[in-house]
């Protein structure tokens, strides 16, 4: 939070010594500025909802894709490789356009901007999640599986009670990374008309013609959001670590 205040103060300071700034467009003390500011911040709802929905789905799909990748069966491993390599190779923006404009033509169903965004982001991210899970699970000692075998746990219970709880602790920093990445990439869904932070800023720029100030606010919005997310991830990491002692 300190960082935001410092950055904000710096920006205001700069504005006072240059004629090119026009903070009035987002000045909360002015009636018009306040309306504009509220308009910009109103995008937060969809940015957060979109990112959180997408990451939840991508974690589940990622796990389901990671598990076959650890199988002794080569066809299951092959499925994992093909999925990861293909999905990972598609730029997120391209996937968003394809899902929103292309998918309805194949499926015959129109799709809302929100769900197009969720599907594209979740799909794209799931390949990365799958690799993170695979790395985490592979890092668990073989002896844990063997001990689990000797107390008669089946595969699902072994994963659920023994392997995943340990693996997830280890991959939390990487999962946090993906969450931050996803929040940022959600800005791309603005191109198909999703009313999130970036889209709101773009729309305001068109009417106010003050890109410098408006995009600066946009930048600060993302910064604040991501600092909050980072803090939550850190807190979660600490909590999980202390639980273990």
């Amino acid at each position: 939070m300190k960082k935001i205040i410092v950055l904000g103060a710096l920006a205001l300071l700069l504005s006072s010594c240059s004629g090119n700034w026009g903070w009035y467009v987002v000045d909360p003390t002015l009636p018009k500025g306040l309306i504009n500011l509220k308009f910009l911040i109103s995008g937060l709802y969809y940015t957060v909802l979109l990112s959180v929905t997408a990451i939840l789905i991508s974690v589940v799909v990622g796990l389901l894709v990671a598990l076959p990748g650890l199988s002794p069966n080569k066809y299951l491993r092959g499925f994992n490789r093909v999925y990861v390599e293909i999905i990972r190779a598609i730029p997120i923006l391209v996937l968003i356009l394809w899902v929103y404009y292309g998918l309805p033509q194949i499926s015959g169903y129109t799709i809302s901007v929100f769900w197009a965004g969720v599907i594209a982001l979740a799909l794209s991210d799931s390949a990365f999640e799958a690799e993170i899970f695979r790395a985490g699970i592979q890092s668990i000692d073989k002896g844990q599986y063997e001990a689990s075998h000797t107390i008669s746990l089946n595969y699902v219970d072994t994963m659920r009670f023994i392997i995943l709880p340990q693996a997830i602790r280890r991959i939390l920093p990487a999962l946090g990374n993906q969450l931050v990445y996803m929040l940022k990439m959600s800005s791309l869904v603005s191109v198909v008309g999703m009313q999130e932070l970036t889209r709101k800023a773009n729309e305001l720029v068109v009417t106010e013609y003050r890109p410098l100030e408006i995009y600066t606010v946009l930048l600060l919005e993302y910064l604040a959001l991501i600092l909050v997310v980072s803090a939550i991830v850190r807190w979660f990491e600490n909590k999980m670590n202390t639980d273990q002692r």
């Binding site: 844990q144 001990a147 000797t150 107390i151 008669s152 009670f161 340990q166 602790r169």
Partner: protein, 252 residues
């Protein structure tokens, strides 16, 4: 010395099994019979196939040729056979392999609850009973990393006992321990042996072997070289390899 609790009822019958790791043959036509209540100690130089042999008994490794019957169940690689032997055969590992994210009590209860369908209270009761037997009931709510090596290994033994197996396998249970902790683990194992548990121990603790073993097995290069009573084993083993080995480990 053995106190004669061993019966004549065979519970493990191993018939000339072989096991390969790639080109390397870890077991060469190994045969071994173990009776209910018998205490077998297996020793031999490292890489001689001792661990592989006992890991085949509970199917952590799968033998390529030959036959293993445990409690009249043929280990043919089928799921039913696997489930049957897992229920009957417990194992204690060199590295303990406790679950680090669970408390001692949870380590002991998990298998009972998930694999045996016991209630939490039932599981807790039995867990505490076995923790008392290995003499660390006061550590029930701690995490494994808070315990000493010797305590961890005793928890691991209790965890196996909680599944109420007919046979317990020990894979060098004291090799990863600091010297001053070896005895607390061996004491528990001696007590178990005296209670009539069928045990197969891979260990180099010859004092323990003399005390509890009904049968001594010496392995070298994937073969059983010697299979005899402890008296014969320690005083007049047949093979030169065994004599050399004993001289090495008893000579200081």
């Amino acid at each position: 010395m053995a106190d004669g609790q061993s019966t004549n009822q065979p519970i493990i019958e191993i018939e000339s099994i072989s096991k390969f790791f790639g080109e390397f043959q870890a077991l060469k036509n190994v045969s071994l019979n173990v009776n209910l209540g018998e205490r077998v100690v297996i020793c031999g130089p490292s890489g001689s196939g001792k661990s592989t042999l006992i890991r085949c008994i509970n199917q952590l490794e799968h033998h390529e040729t030959g036959e293993i019957q445990v409690d009249s169940v043929e280990l043919d690689g089928s799921k039913d056979a696997l489930n049957a032997i897992r229920a009957n055969v417990g194992m204690v590992f060199q590295q303990f392999n406790l679950f680090p994210h669970l408390t001692v009590l949870e380590n002991l209860s998990l298998g009972q609850i998930r694999a045996r369908g016991k209630s939490k209270t039932e599981a807790r009761e039995l867990s505490m009973q076995y923790l008392e037997r290995v003499r660390i009931p006061e550590q029930a709510d701690k995490f494994p990393r808070q315990l000493s090596g010797g305590q961890q290994q005793r928890v691991a033994i209790a965890r196996s006992l909680c599944m109420e197996p007919k046979i317990l396998l020990f894979d060098e249970p004291t090799s990863a321990l600091d010297p001053e902790m070896i005895n607390e683990v061996l004491d528990v194992m001696v007590e178990l042996a005296e209670s009539g548990m069928t045990m197969i121990c891979v260990t180099h603790e010859m004092g323990f072997a003399r005390k509890v073993a009904d049968t001594m097995v010496f392995m070298d290069h994937g073969e059983i070289v010697e299979n005899c009573s402890p008296d014969k084993f320690f005083d007049q083993p047949d093979s030169q390899r065994c004599r050399d080995f004993l001289q090495k480990i008893l000579h200081h």
